[in-house]
Point group: C2
Chain length 471, copies 2
């Protein structure tokens, strides 16, 4: 059996190499679909992307391919899940492959060197919104499965379920509900998620922890209608000034969040984990210069940059819609303004408790003459996953074969809400094997995916799936 | 002569009454031109509005009508001045009639009950952007002149110069430069400005003081590019949080501005003026409820609302462009964000000194990891004008004849930059006789002009011009 698997693996790897250019062309087709899940005007595009993935899963030989609707009366904007399975590998483990076909908005458009939805190859990279997050990485799964399917003449060495969602960038509520209500349909021995990044170029990486989040809006209302600041300035409350006062009270200048009780549940990483982080090839000054490019790093004193971004909660403001934002001058005191504020959470914080603390504190510091409304837009649980199991070993072995290096274990500062649901609801061990690079401009203009990593990712996944099947 | 003037006045008033509807139709034509001076995309519209005014001044018999270019290499966006004169009334005083044909942006468009550039009559008002500020009030001047011209069979009882600008809403730099360089062309005994409001319906009002202003932008830059807040939150500086911290330090929660030295030059109103203000029909609670509609008024303790809006400096934030402002969620730490901040000034503050104090203070409180750029967009001087002269008496008599009431003297919280220039550069006494109402929604959605006041304004101006000529 092992020989057969090895032969199948070799044939699959060979197929992937031979067809690498074709895989990229297919990915480009998918990247051309502006499946921006947060934008109602792109609803049809999101649907098209789902159908594109479903069609390809059908074409490569997956079974029971289905678009599962998540829109309901309460949630009319829900985007479909794409499901596919192969359950003919009797007695073998089942791998749940997860990815998402939705993308972040592309704004600001004028900062893209090539248009966000016209994928363009430059310097060994493919540039497009979603190139690495997550269409490119999701496509690695599909292509690895195709390669194994071709190599095995329609027989896979492992059982598979594939679940793709279209709401990852807006909180993943649809898939979360599906997992809660129909978890059995995603029953698997291990989940494979490729939506994270490598710690450094050529350094195979598994992500073993993610921050959670609450994404909120604070709406401040003052006067009944927009007012002329000349006539009313000095008497009418200003919603932007009020929001500034609130934000300045939420986080001190060192980056410590001032919400009472907010840090109570924060669990420190283990000593072993902290030591492993110190051994990573990471230089804060280089990180500041090369990745961030600001005059200084910010954040809580007494914690390293990795601790601050992986294991400490944070607060960020993403935009403050309202008032006059055109060029030039308009002397308006707007009736209302909004701050889009997110807070990242770490184990063992919970979104529900953290949001309650936040909302209560914001309301308690409401400035005079202003009415505040604090809204939760979406949330995700923070998680840490176990590294002591056969699936993690299969992953590290696969990547060693491809990269010739030992895998490092890191955490991610971002959120992949579904991973929390897999762990919490399905009790499924999750392997987060990602192939992005730190400078891939996730969520920013000029998002890219290094094509070498796209191909290495496909080979790593072929090997991983084969190893799990051979175990 | 006095009899002739009285007869001319009566005939002119009669003409204005007979043609009132026609005047409104003409005004509507002007209001349909979206002459938003701050918006480069409306440059042609601004020009069209200028030409519209020039054509009408020519048609009614004014002489030497001219569009005076203000655009230069350094200021390519400058909008033309419209000039016209009638200087045949030998031995008579010269009145300089000032108005502006540009308007504020109309955003937010969805809050208008009828489209901002489709003037609509409702409940005795005309609704449109610029209805009262200042196209409608400027049109009162033009129509008063026309009425006198018709009544006098082409002969006016007074000398006139008319100067209309297209940059009042963006700081009036073009006319200011013209006044500095070609002041002699605007030489007059008195300037008449109708760009202010009546203190209450049916209460004739002269404005005798205006706040000045500095309109600024603070641009905060953190990271080199937009970053994912999950990956970088806790290490990357957030420009919105930085701006919030800066704004919260510029003004305390009572509304006191914290810029060192900012209040040093503030001149208190005279005891007589303060007493007159106390006698005005004004109730702070009613003002809060009816005009502002917020849960409380804000501003410095120890000063009445009239003092705070007329005679105390203030700080307002008008908008904070940058980042993600769409619906839904985007987890971005933007590379930059901007706060549009204006400060109102009162006598004897100066824009130059106040801006220097502000800029220096903002730079001194720049948050860690952030680079701030403080830009002056435009400015205007605060002014107070004398009330003890024959022109003010002519104005109060004219309005008594129309309204049957004594005139009240008030100040305005807003800025009309050119008035400072008339006073300072030309030493021209200025009569600010305005006919707007406090609820006319200047600079806000649903701007309107009460049509009765449009007609009373025309009659008041006819009488004023005739009286100045008869003096």
């Amino acid at each position: 059996m092992s020989v057969t698997v090895t032969e199948t693996t070799a044939a699959a790897v060979e197929f992937a190499k031979t067809n690498g250019k074709q895989f990229v062309e297919e990915l480009k087709e998918l990247l051309r679909i502006p499946s921006v899940s947060t934008a109602p005007e792109h609803r049809d595009d999101v649907r098209r992307a789902a159908q594109f993935c479903a069609d390809e899963l059908t074409r490569i030989g997956m079974e029971h391919v289905e678009l599962i609707e998540t829109a309901t009366v309460d949630r009319p904007g829900g985007h479909a899940l794409v499901y596919a399975e192969y359950l003919q590998a009797t007695g073998k483990p089942t791998v749940l492959c997860y990815g998402h076909y939705d993308v972040q908005p592309a704004e600001p458009l004028d900062e893209w060197k090539s248009p966000p939805f016209e994928p363009t190859e430059r310097d060994g990279n493919i540039y497009a919104r979603g190139a690495v997050d997550d269409k490119g990485q999701m496509w690695m799964h599909v292509k690895a499965i195709e390669a194994l399917m071709v190599a095995g003449h329609g027989v896979l060495p492992v059982n598979l379920r594939v679940i793709l969602e279209g709401e990852e960038e807006v909180g993943g509520e649809g898939i979360a509900k599906f997992v809660r209500e129909h978890g059995a349909r995603l029953k698997a021995d291990v989940a494979l998620v490729s939506d994270t990044e490598m710690f450094a170029p050529d350094l195979p990486t598994l992500c073993v922890g993610l921050r959670g989040m609450i994404y909120t809006e604070i709406e401040a209302r003052g006067a009944r209608t927009d007012l002329h600041s000349g006539m009313y300035g000095g008497a009418a409350p200003n919603p932007f000034v009020a929001l500034a006062q609130v934000i300045a009270k939420l986080k001190d200048e060192d980056g410590k969040i001032l919400i009472p009780g907010f840090y109570d549940k924060v669990a420190a990483p283990t000593v072993a984990e902290l030591q492993a982080w110190k051994a990573l090839p990471f230089d804060e000054e280089e990180y500041r210069e090369a990745e961030i490019g600001s005059s200084a790093l910010t954040g809580e004193p007494g914690f390293s940059a990795l601790e601050r971004t992986w294991a400490r909660p944070t607060l960020d403001v993403h935009g403050m819609p309202g008032g006059f934002v055109g060029s030039g001058a308009k002397t308006v005191i707007p009736a209302k303004a909004v701050a889009k504020v997110s807070l990242r959470l770490v184990p063992d914080m919970t979104p529900a408790e953290s949001f309650a603390q936040y909302k209560s504190f914001v309301e308690s510091i409401c400035p005079k003459g202003i009415q505040l409304e604090v809204r939760l837009i979406h949330s995700g649980d923070p998680i840490v996953v176990s590294t002591d199991n056969e699936y993690v070993r299969a992953a590290t072995e696969s990547m060693r074969e491809v990269f010739g290096k030992e895998t490092v274990f890191v955490r991610g500062g971002g959120s992949i809400p579904i991973v929390g649901d897999f762990v919490r609801e399905l009790k499924t061990p999750t392997v987060m094997m990602g192939f992005g690079l730190p400078d891939d401009n996730l969520h920013a203009p000029n998002e890219k995916f290094h094509l070498a990593n796209f191909h290495r990712g496909i080979e790593s996944i072929i090997r991983f799936l084969a190893k799990v099947g051979a175990a």
